[in-house]
Amino acid sequence: MDYFLDRREDAVIVAVHGRVDEASWESFGAGLSEAIQQAQQSGLGDVIIDLQKLDYMSSRGLRVLTVAKRQGQEASVTISLASPNEVMREILAISRYDKLFTITETIEIRR
């Protein structure tokens, strides 16, 4: 698993590559905390997690997302998910995380 942060004008984008599982959930969590901090420091209200290059995420990764969502709420930062592949779409449905997070087709925010 690797992640890359990109601070745009309207949001901080976290691109996740590879797989988030028992071996990588801790560093994924650290990456999300970093993104939330960056957004807060830049006065941005959005962190978008770009899932395009993510193979899949196990329950560990999903639970890290919930932890990040709570951190985000304290920092007035909204976390959303963008461009999941087919496998990740299924996992989001099976876990019912599609009810907890906004999931968009692309990383562009449409307001």
Binding site: D21, E22, W25, Y56, S58, S59, R60, L62, R63, T66, V67, V87, E90, I91, I94, S95, R96, Y97, K99, L100
Partner: protein, 320 residues
Amino acid sequence: MLVRFWGTRGSLPVAPTAMAIRHKIANALVAADGRRFENSADAERFVDRELSFAAGSHYGGATSCVELEAGNGSYFICDMGSGLRSFGLDSMRRNAAGHKKTYNFFLSHLHWDHIMGFPFFAPSFDPEATIRIHAAHPDAEQALRRQQEEISFPVPFDWLRANIEFEQLTPGKSHEVDGVRIETKLQQHSHDSYGYRFTDADGRAVIYSTDSEHKLDKMDVEAAFIEFFRNADLVVFDTMYSLAESVSMKEDWGHSSNMVAVDLCHEAGAKKLALFHHEPTYEDEDIQRMHEESIRYEELTREGSPLEVICSYDGLEVRV
């Protein structure tokens, strides 16, 4: 080892309504599409082959009670939910055929749905029966006596005729009971709960881990569960909620999800997972969908050898 499920429902016993049975029969007749059956065995073959489990059967509504046929001839039973009543009657038939009248119980915890069957456990009136209740909770005896106090039940605990003993288990320590090795693990649940690992003389291992929450902010303690489940032949696991429910509205309600079950079993190299402690508001179709989704999630995330995901129902027998 043979594992027999007498009660698989969580929290509260449930039963299908008249409407639910009518619905199943009507749908089965439509599916049969005018076919003729020679006899009921022929019709049952149709049910088995052509109807889904939810359409042609029922997961059952009795609360937690799981029997293990293991060891040197005494009974091994996990929990005393409402499923215990049927087990008690069945065991008396077996006793009449010569089975040893020694019952070894292992209690996950003392919540009502896990002890409510004991006042209806007929062998407790048999003066020749020995009932050994193993629990890591020091207040197990108090819980069982209390539910038979006059305000709750007409027959007090002291009227029971069997020889009843309480055995205190120590988590982390290995106990030997009638040829079976038992290990106990503390779990996250209101007033605590304990998981059990049963290993027979052939080295077959069955895990009973119900009413156990795997919390968001305590994922680092899961390594100990993976060790506890290591290479188990069967893991019976509390899969009451979806992952999203378990981390949102139902956080701290003390239960877990199918996805955490699959992840922990994968990491432990377990061979078979039995989904257990079904949500009482779920219809058969809901439980079946949860089972199908669990199988799919296992496929999507599998890296090593496959984990077989089965869904427990009242009456299921699994040989390991």
